[in-house]
């Protein structure tokens, strides 16, 4: 906790000094909470938090589910079962996020319409679908490494006490694997939070989009983007803190 405090002190000091050196090149007034304009600007910027959080949480939940569904057949002893999973991972992993976002947002509705499913995809769901699919290739590999790190004897013992494949995964393998892969999964969550900034280019009103819009009206990119970065920092630090707590709780649970 004291380490967090030191970071805040340092950042606060930097901003304070920057604000004091008002020789005309800085314009902290745009986000000065003591003025009405500054307050309203800050409110506008911070108003993007909820959208970023929603986007990241839903995309992460989908990515983790999808990743598991891709990882499980990827470990089959039958190569024909393994193949689709392998192809999915290699293919999805190779697509850069931004082009994929454009393709999903502008292209996918056209494809769906031609298939007889006239759907509209708004910026919110377009971003979620893209982030979830793009990230699922990575979570799938994380699951695979976690599951394969559990000794084979665990599966054998579970099968000999009559558990099915699904029950073996659910009650024996995954509870042990999740503990081991929690840190890399948390990394992916943080990665998604940061990559959700791309949703701004298709018009999603999240943190980055709002900063961009304010820059256009205020012409103060340095100050506004600095605050934007700090907003992401706060978000990521909160996640890190939560993950530490979760790890401790799970670790304690295991050694009980």
């Amino acid at each position: 906790m004291t380490r967090f405090f030191k970071i805040w002190m340092l950042l606060g000091a930097c901003l304070f000094l920057a604000a004091c050196s008002g020789d005309g090149t800085w314009g902290w007034y745009v986000i000065d909470p003591s003025t009405a304009q500054g307050q309203s600007n800050i409110r506008f910027l911070v108003g993007g938090f909820w959208a970023t959080i929603q986007l990241s949480l839903i995309a992460t939940a989908l990515s983790m589910t999808l990743g598991l569904l891709v990882a499980l057949p990827g470990m089959s002893s039958n190569r024909w079962v393994r193949l689709p999973s392998r192809v999915y991972i290699e293919f999805v992993r190779a697509i850069p996020l931004l082009p994929m976002l454009f393709w999903v947002f502008y292209g996918l509705p056209v494809v769906m319409r031609s298939l007889g499913f006239p759907i509209t995809i708004d910026a919110f769901w377009g971003a979620i679908i893209t982030l979830a699919i793009s990230d699922s290739a990575f979570t799938a590999e994380i699951y695979r490494s976690g599951i394969q790190s559990i000794p084979k004897g665990q599966t054998e013992a579970a099968r000999t006490v009559g558990l099915t494949y699904g029950q073996t995964m659910r009650y024996v393998i995954l509870p042990q694997a999740i503990r081991r892969i929690l840190p890399p999964l948390a990394n992916q969550f943080i990665y998604i939070v940061k990559m959700s900034a791309f949703a701004s280019v298709i018009g999603m009103q999240e943190l980055t989009r709002r900063a961009n819009e304010l820059v256009v009206t205020e012409y103060r990119p340095l100050e506004i983007y600095t605050l934007l970065i700090l907003e992401y920092l706060v978000l990521v630090l909160i996640i890190s803190f939560f993950v530490r707590w979760l790890e401790r709780k799970m670790g304690a649970d295991e050694s009980r």
């Binding site: 013992a157 000999t160 009559g162 029950q167 295991e254």
Partner: protein, 246 residues
């Protein structure tokens, strides 16, 4: 088919790549029979008993357990419901308590309620003489205790046949006796047992039949009294000489 024959293994062959681990193995086990399988490492003895409950697949031949063929659809699952197994490395579930290790199978595979499963589990923990460890995690137990938990976990599924794959090989010497005692008791209660072990004292005490394997084949079988007295083959004699030397 004779109802007494619970396991029938017919001309079983298996290879790992170029290496043939099992060559034309035939073995018939009657209900209540205790068989000790021994042989040098790499002789195929573990692979043989792992084939019996489908943990290893075989290339040719047939295995029938309690009238169920392993090769019939769903055969492996049906056979596993009849066959318990104890491993060299215990393979307890480290994230579950001792009692949860025991109740998992009965609850999920047999559909028992938690209460019923726990009553059953306690009954078997008493039998392996560690009911007081029920709420601990496996890692808090000694190796001997862990192996006894593993035996109790198998017994909770009420198997007709128990397979033991070198159950005492990973144990410190002072813990071997407590595990063997449990196994001797099990044998006295009439359990059908296939035991891969080098514990010749145990074999002498409980085995109805000794099976000696070498190079993937069954080289010699006989009652312990006969084989310890006068092994028929040179290979078995030299194996016994080696393990009984000290």
């Amino acid at each position: 088919m004779n109802a007494d024959r619970v396991i029938e293994i017919r001309s079983l062959n298996k290879s790992f790549g170029d290496f043939q681990v099992l060559r034309n193995v035939d073995l018939t086990v009657s209900l209540g029979e205790r068989i000790v399988i021994c042989g040098p490492s790499g002789s195929g003895k573990s692979t043989l008993i792992r084939c019996v409950n489908g943990l290893e697949q075989y290339d040719s031949g047939s295995i029938t357990v309690d009238g169920i063929s392993l090769s019939e659809p769903g055969g492996v699952d049906k056979v596993r419901a009849e066959v318990g197994m104890v491993f060299q490395q215990f393979n307890l579930f480290p994230h579950l308590s001792v009692i949860e290790n025991l109740t998992l199978g009965p609850m999920k595979a047999r559909g028992l309620s938690r209460k019923e499963a726990e009553a059953l589990a306690m009954q078997y923990l008493e039998r392996v003489k560690i009911p007081e460890q029920a709420l601990k995690r496996p890692r808090e137990l000694s190796g001997g205790q862990q192996q006894r938990v593993a035996i109790a976990r198998s017994l909770c599924m009420k198997p007709k046949i128990m397979l033991f794959d070198e159950p005492t090989s990973a144990l410190d010497p002072e813990m071997i006796a407590e595990v063997l005692d449990v196994m001797v008791e099990l044998a006295r209660d009439g359990m059908t047992m296939l035991v891969v072990t080098h514990e010749m004292g145990f074999a002498r005490k409980v085995a109805d039949r000794m099976v000696f394997m070498d190079g993937g084949e069954i080289v010699e079988t006989g009652t312990p009294a006969d084989v310890f007295e006068a092994p028929k083959t040179r290979r078995f004699k030299s194996f016994l000489d080696k393990i009984l030397q000290h």
